[in-house]
Structure formats: structure tokens, C-alpha cells
Amino acid sequence: MIQFETYEKDDLLIVKPKVKRLDAIVAVSFKDKITEFINQGKKLILLNLNDVNFIDSSGLGAIVTILKRLGRDGKLYLCYVSEPVENMFKLTRMDKIFKIFDTEEQAIQSVK
């Protein structure tokens, strides 16, 4: 269902979901797909949300699931978060949980 662009940079897996809306209709396949990566041993994931301009509580719930599946020795980063999506993270206090970078490069630099 949901399409991704993925590539690796050292230990970091960069995942860019190719959807405008991260909502109830894609939430399940979104978290299933990323869970596969986690099961393959990926511990550092950067979600590039460049294409996403809407997220609802199902999409947010999927990101929380991913965060929890990564567990204590994994890390989840976000970048290219649009204004409405950022606002949604604030509404749900997720701005206190997710590490959000402006750009992919900044995230990559800081993870090094």
C-alpha cells in the first residue's frame, strides 16, 4: 500500500513515506513496513516527512508504535516537518518526545 523511499547512511536508515496524508488508511501498512526494518536490525531511523502535509491520530499512533518497537537502544528522528504536522505534534505533546530536525543533513550530522 504505502510507498517509501529508503536509503542508508552509515547506521542510519532514512525512510521517506511517499504520501501526502499519514492517516488511518495508511497507518497500519506504514507501521508494519517500518517494523520489518526494525526486525532486520535497524536501530536508528530518520523519518523524512517532506511529502506529508496531514497527519491524524492514527498516523501519530503509528509513529508512537515505531518508537516503542525501536525500544531503549533504538532512536527515531524526524525531519522536514510541515507547519500543520508540527502543530499536530504540539497538540499531542509529541514535540517533547520526537527529535525533530529541519533537514535531512542536520539529522545526519547530529547522529554521526
Binding site: 496524508r21 492517516d23 488511518a24 488508511i25 496531514f54 491524524d56 491520530s57 492514527s58 501519530l60 499512533g61 508512537v64 508504535t65 518508537l67 516503542k68 531503549r72 507547519e83 500543520p84 502543530n87 499536530m88 497538540l91 499531542t92 505533546r93 509529541m94 517533547k96 518526545i97
Partner: protein, 155 residues
């Protein structure tokens, strides 16, 4: 100014929810709401419609979800209605903004769901859920003027 109103109806399939959301977002551009506020209203409508599909209709298609968007000079009123299983009033009342609080030091305790109604209560100035003669309606009001504080105005 007279009130303006439009009713939007979809079949109870998640595939149709984006259509509703986008239409509502655009309709908000007729109001003084900012872009982020319009997005928030869209979000609340999407949450309410998802709930009708997932919970009231238990994911079954072939039912209708009806959204009525009404624009008054000083407020926007959006009703989201279904004819499925109604929500217990106690569940609706229990879902408070506190459900949105998080502990950054214990991510394993973060909830993976249950944020729909709290988001709606956070964004809207008034939210009422009513069931009558098999029809369940969530009525959400967003004020356009004197939007400083939240209140519990009835419609």
C-alpha cells in the same frame, strides 16, 4: 450576514475520509481562521469521521457518515453524524485533555491510540455528543470572534 451551510456525505470507508477532510479545510478559507487553525478543524472532522467508521460502524462499509458544516458570522459549527453503535456518554466524558499528557522519560508508556476525542476537545471551543432515534451526532463549535477563552456555550 445569513448563515451558510453545506452537508457532506460519504460511505463509511476510510478511503473517502480524505475527500471530506480536504473539503472541510477549503471551506474554512471562507472564515477568518488561519491556515493552521483550518488544518486543526480538518483534523477534528477527520478524527470524528474515523471514529464513526471504526467504532460506530465497526469498520463496515455501506453505511453513511454525514458532516454538516455551517458558517455563522461568529462561529463555525460542524456536526458529524452516524447511525451506528452509539458511544457511551461516560466514555465521551472521560476522554479529557489530560489524555494528551506524556512523560518524555518513559516512552514505553506512551499510548498508541485514544487521542481522537482529546484532540477534538483541545481544538474546539465546544464539543457535544448526542444520540437520538438511532442517529449519533458529535457537534463541534469553533468560535471566530473573541476566541480568547474556551467556553461551554450551547449552540
Amino acid at each position: 450576514m445569513e448563515q451558510k451551510s453545506i452537508k457532506l456525505i460519504i460511505e463509511s470507508k476510510l478511503e473517502n475520509v480524505a475527500l471530506l477532510g480536504m473539503a472541510i479545510n477549503k471551506l474554512c478559507s471562507l472564515t477568518p481562521l488561519s491556515e493552521v487553525e483550518s488544518y486543526q478543524v480538518e483534523l477534528c472532522v477527520v478524527e470524528a469521521v474515523n471514529n464513526s467508521i471504526k467504532h460506530a460502524y465497526e469498520g463496515k462499509a455501506c453505511n453513511e457518515v454525514e458532516v454538516v458544516f455551517t458558517l455563522y458570522p461568529s462561529k463555525v459549527v460542524v456536526d458529524v453524524c452516524d447511525r451506528g453503535k452509539s458511544m457511551e456518554q461516560s466514555i465521551f466524558n472521560e476522554k479529557q485533555l489530560s489524555a494528551l499528557e506524556v512523560d518524555p522519560n518513559d516512552i514505553m508508556k506512551l499510548s498508541e491510540s485514544g487521542r481522537g476525542i482529546p484532540i477534538i476537545k483541545e481544538v474546539m471551543d465546544s464539543v457535544v455528543y448526542k444520540s437520538k432515534e438511532g442517529k449519533n451526532c458529535l457537534t463541534m463549535i469553533k468560535r471566530l470572534e473573541a476566541r480568547g477563552g474556551k467556553d461551554n456555550d450551547s449552540i
